[in-house]
Assembly symmetry: C2
Homo-oligomer: 315 residues x 2
C-alpha cells in the first residue's frame, strides 16, 4: 500500500509515474482541497480534477489544467452575457462540476462524489479529498491590486488565476481547517501505508492545507521514516507555479534546503534533482535523508523512473 499526498499538476504527473510501477489499486492519493471554490454556484475542486483527468488520460498537457480537446461554448456565451469568466471552465470540465455539485446538494460528501467520479472515469487509484469539510486557502496580498489595497485577503483562486500569481504575498490562512476532520479513510491510509509519497507540489499552498487538517500532521510525524518527499524546487526555482516566490515571501529559502527545513519534522527522505546535488549535505543537515535523482517529469518514462526511485527510497 502506497499513499501519495497531492496538489495539482506535479502530483498528477507523479501519480501517472507511480501507476506504471505499482498496481494502481494499491495507491491512495490524498488530495488538497484548499484550492476548492464556489463559482456560478458550482463546487469546483481544481486539484481533484487535475489528478482525475490525468489518471483518466484526458488531461490537457499544454495548459496543465482542464481537459484535452476542450471546447468553450458555455464560457463564450457567459462572456457575451458579461458574466465572470476569468476562471475558465471548459464544456467537458463543466460536466464534472455539474455532477459534483448536484451530488453535494443531494447530501453526498465530497469524498463519496470524488470516488464515484474516479470510478466512472475508469481510475483504479483510490482518490481521497483531504477532508469533506470546507477548508479554503486565503491569501493576504502584500501589494495593492484591483481587488483591494495591500493587506487585502483574497480567495486562493483570486490570487492564483485572477491575478495570475503575479503579486507578492504577505500571508496564508487555511480557513476552516481547525474545525475540519480528515475525510473517511485518510488517517487509516496514512497508518497502513508502506510508503507515503509527498508529491512535488507546492509545499505551502498544496501540501500546507493537507497538514492543516487536524490529525494529518501528527499521523505523518508518526510515520516519518516512511515518508518520502520529492522536492518541487529544482535549482532554486519551481518548475511551475509560484512556490519559489511564495517560499521567499513567507520566509523560507526557495531551495531544496528550504524544502527540507519545512518538511523535516515529518519527512524521512527528500528526493532532490541532480541539478541540486551540491546541496545534498545541506539537506541532510536539516534532518531528512537525501536522495539525488532526475526529478523533472518531462516524459511518462521520466515520471515512471522517478516513481521507481521514490518507492525504493524508503529508509
Amino acid at each position: 500500500m502506497l499513499v501519495a499526498l497531492c496538489g495539482g499538476v506535479g502530483a498528477a504527473r507523479m501519480l501517472s509515474g507511480l501507476v506504471r510501477v505499482v498496481p494502481p489499486d494499491t495507491i491512495t492519493a490524498i488530495v488538497n482541497v484548499g484550492d476548492d471554490m464556489e463559482m456560478h454556484g458550482l463546487h469546483i475542486s481544481p486539484d481533484i480534477d487535475t489528478v482525475t483527468y490525468t489518471l483518466a488520460g484526458m488531461d490537457n498537457q499544454e495548459t496543465g489544467w482542464g481537459v484535452a480537446g476542450e471546447t468553450w461554448t458555455v464560457m463564450g456565451e457567459l462572456a457575451r452575457l458579461g458574466g465572470e469568466d476569468w476562471f475558465r471552465l471548459g464544456d467537458r470540465d463543466l460536466a464534472t462540476h455539474l455532477y459534483r455539485t448536484g451530488s453535494l446538494r443531494s447530501g453526498a460528501t465530497l469524498s463519496a462524489v470524488t470516488d464515484e467520479l474516479r470510478r466512472r472515469r475508469g481510475i483504479a487509484v483510490n482518490l481521497l479529498p483531504a477532508t469533506d469539510d470546507p477548508v479554503r486557502t486565503r491569501v493576504t496580498l502584500a501589494e495593492a491590486t484591483g481587488l483591494g489595497p495591500a493587506g487585502t485577503e483574497v480567495a486562493f483562486q483570486d490570487y492564483f488565476v485572477r491575478l495570475r500569481h503575479e503579486v507578492a504575498v504577505a500571508g496564508l490562512r487555511f480557513d476552516g481547517a481547525e474545525k475540519a476532520r480528515p475525510a473517511p479513510g485518510v488517517l487509516e491510509a496514512l497508518a497502513a501505508a508502506d510508503t507515503i509519497v509527498v508529491c512535488p507540489s507546492n509545499p505551502l499552498v498544496s501540501i500546507g492545507p493537507l497538514l492543516a487538517v487536524p490529525g494529518v500532521r501528527d499521523a505523518l510525524v508518526g510515520r516519518r521514516p516512511d515518508v518520502v518527499a520529492v522536492s518541487p524546487i529544482v535549482a532554486g526555482a519551481a518548475l511551475k507555479g509560484p512556490a519559489d516566490r511564495l517560499m521567499a515571501e513567507l520566509g523560507t529559502e526557495p531551495s531544496v534546503v528550504g524544502v527540507a527545513r519545512l518538511y523535516a519534522p515529518w519527512v524521512g527522505t527528500l528526493v532532490i534533482d541532480e541539478a541540486d546535488a551540491g546541496h545534498a549535505m545541506s539537506v541532510e543537515a536539516e534532518g531528512p535523508r537525501c536522495i539525488v535523482a532526475p526529478t523533472v517529469m518531462g516524459t511518462p518514462d521520466a515520471a515512471a523512473a522517478l516513481a521507481g526511485t521514490v518507492i525504493d527510497a524508503r529508509g
Copy 2:
C-alpha cells in the same frame, strides 16, 4: 402601459406579437416561476428563459424551449459520467443558468438577475418574475410511475419533462406560495396597466402559480374590466402541452367555456379562436365578454394580428 401574465411558449409568442404593435418598453411581462427548479446546483427558470430567448430572437422554434443552434457538449459528457441528463441543458443555455445561479448565490434577487439578463440580451420589455420567493408547483400523480405509486407528489419538471406529462394528475400544489410576496414592481404594474393581457398559457400550471402569490389575484379582480385573456384551448385541445388533459383531470371542462369559468372572477374579456365561435354565448354566460378572432400564432404576422386584437379588446 401593458402588462402580460406569462407562462412559457404561448406567452413568448404572444409577447413577440405585442412588441410589434406597441413600444416594447411599455410592456411589463410577469412570468411564472412555479416551473423553476434546482438541478446540478443550478437555478433554472424555464419560463423566464423561454420568454427571454424568444424576445432576444434566439429561441429554438422547433423544440419550443432552449436556444437555436444549440450544442450539447456538457450534457454529452454528463451522460458519459452517468449523471442525470433527462432535463436537457444546452451549452449556451447553461451560460444563462451559471450567470443566474452565481448572482443568486451572491445575494441578488431573481428579479434583479432577470432584469440584468434581459438587458444584456438587448430586450426592452420589462421582465418580472411573479415572485422572488420560492414557489414550486408540485404535482400529485394519479397513476403509478417509475417515481412512485399512484398518489406520489413530484416536482413539476418530473411530471412535465421526466415523465413527458404522459401520466394522469390527481392534484396540484404551489409549494411556498402562501409565504411568497409579489416581486418588486408586480403589484405596481398591475395597478398602473391600461390593459392586462393573460397570454395563452396553461391556466392551471402557468397562470395558476401567478395567482397563488398573495395579492396578485386580488389585484386582478380589482382590474377585471381591463383584463383580456387569450384562451390556450382551441377546439377543446391545447395547442401545446397538457393543459386540456390537466383541466379534465382536475374537474374543469377542457374548452373555452371551461377557461371562461376558471378565469371569470378576474378576466373581463376572453379572446377565443374562430374554431370556437359557436361557444361565444356560452363563454359570455360564464361572465367574461367574448371576442372571436384567429388565435393560433403560426407566424409572426399572426402573432402581431392577435396582439392587435387583444389591445383593442378592452371593454
